[in-house]
Subunit: 351 residues, 2 copies
Amino acid sequence: MTDDQSAKRPVPTMRDIARAAAVSQSTVSRVLSGAPTAVPIAPETRERVLRTARELGYRPNPLARGLRGASTNLIGAVVRDFSDPFFAGAIEALVVESMSHGYNVVLGHAPPRTGAEAIPLTTVLETRHTDAVVLLGDMQEYPELLADLRASLVPVVALWPGTSPREFPTVDADDRAGIRAGLNHLVALGHERIAFVNAELPNEYRVREQAYLEFMRERFGAVPEGYAERCPSNLAGGDAALRRLMDRPDPPTAVAVSTDVVAVGVLHAAHSLGVTVPGRLSVVGFDDILISAHTVPALTTVRMPIAEIVAHAVEFAVRPARREPSEADLSIEVFEPELVVRDSTAPPPVI
Amino acid sequence: MTDDQSAKRPVPTMRDIARAAAVSQSTVSRVLSGAPTAVPIAPETRERVLRTARELGYRPNPLARGLRGASTNLIGAVVRDFSDPFFAGAIEALVVESMSHGYNVVLGHAPPRTGAEAIPLTTVLETRHTDAVVLLGDMQEYPELLADLRASLVPVVALWPGTSPREFPTVDADDRAGIRAGLNHLVALGHERIAFVNAELPNEYRVREQAYLEFMRERFGAVPEGYAERCPSNLAGGDAALRRLMDRPDPPTAVAVSTDVVAVGVLHAAHSLGVTVPGRLSVVGFDDILISAHTVPALTTVRMPIAEIVAHAVEFAVRPARREPSEADLSIEVFEPELVVRDSTAPPPVI
DNA sequence: TTGTACGCGTTATCAT
DNA sequence: ATGATAACGCGTACAA
């Protein structure tokens, strides 16, 4: 056995180290607490303290640190829907990025609209511990949570805030540009009867829908009646939406979808309906989630720069909060998505 | 504006409440700290304290609570791979379940095998805060982490531990039964040339592979040479594995796959190769992740009772740690998976 | 029934 | 260069 006396013994405190190293507890703190150039310490003492600390297996107690006003190295992440692969990917990115900065991530879950109106922050996350809070997605459904956040002192950064008012520093993608890239691709292939399926998370992707409407009007003068579908933001939603679309007397030859998750549902429905993709129907998604490269057929989509967005957010969140409130409080960073052409798009069928 | 004086003021402490309510801080503590019948409190005083606390927007400081030895209401979850939809689903379930018990979840990420060997627990999670640690998946790759956990005092519960030695209380599914259910289904349809694709997370799903080998020997006397494939546990892995399988002189008519994620990759490869599913090839997955019902074609698979497993784990994790070490320390709970027949399986093609 | 006093493990401010 | 000592917010013996 390599672990001998250390087994199952409560973690040593600074006092233990101090006793063992025959110094005062404050000296131990000075040596250990990282403040390297704060006060000069005798190299010999420093070494001795460090050694005993290592031997005893000392680990700082972040609770005590936090009590003193120091940071807890915890970042709170509030998500509405984990099961959404897009957010799952974003969380992974967030965790990885946070850890590379020495932070852990505490997950908060804003439950999808229970009957009870007000969901205070404390219900969702014990924020007082977290050095910062990252909001993933549109949180307008939770006004109480937002109010709590507003009134609190923790730095907040909002990611993919949809149509939420920009009250926090925000990092987002240029949804409009992404949608236009997808639609341009379809038009270049020769499509004109292009429908749009919008994943309806209350008002999250309104921007994408607007971009579609705007594009269609620009390009064709009008949006074909009933070509802008909406559906719940999940696989079944996309399935149902495409069925409605193909049921029409004038079914589209192409569908742009506001999220890949819904697009996967669309692909499934097309298959069930015997509508071959891309032979009879082209499909463009948005997000480029992991499965998108491996659907049947592989999905043409718009890549969401998750890593960049999250990296930026973490950078912002862990930045020492010593800045003036007026400085970057309205900072809005926008990243550009990029079209990824795969196998779900082709020229429309010849009539 | 509804928020007036409370805006941006650091959260009030018990002392603030005490001052405002003209009582001592300990009285406030007694009233607020939940211990209802601990010591009798004058109803009038109690009411006054409660009211001022509400007015001032008091919220307990869990750091201070934790320092005092109380619980932090934090559960640490260590996952190896977030991007795996199966674990994403498990984490969601864990978060939801934990919150319903008043706990938040701190995510730890065990990075997929960097060159550096030893990954101590502290790197992955500041455990000292968490009231319990939940291990998701096989952690044998991280012996140092396991050693830290073993030496520590926090209760640990292992979920889907694969072939790890059962050193912690464990909740798992009956993988063998699940695999057999899938294989029985294929055999009932008339298949004999049944291959197996195993997602290779070092040794996570060895059990499933063993179950396949055992079944085939039982049923057909032998396992066709080279029919037990292994591949990285992701979409591309399944893709590549099926290509190897179909490249053989005697390609299988059915493939059982050890995870749905890999199975989705298999479906994609089949499509790319022009092998129709289920016409020329039947595919059975394992896990029943969210997409499985919406792949093309919808995947026949074995449902993993994630919710039940996670619920059981949380129940165990938050159970007051007052039990004797010998009692339930070797507890192993096993849940039964269940076959879900969809559209990716059919009788083998007639020759 | 309520108030006083102490300690949890740290960091920060004093003195030495 | 180092050692006392005072907080941080809370729970809890103990005293009143």
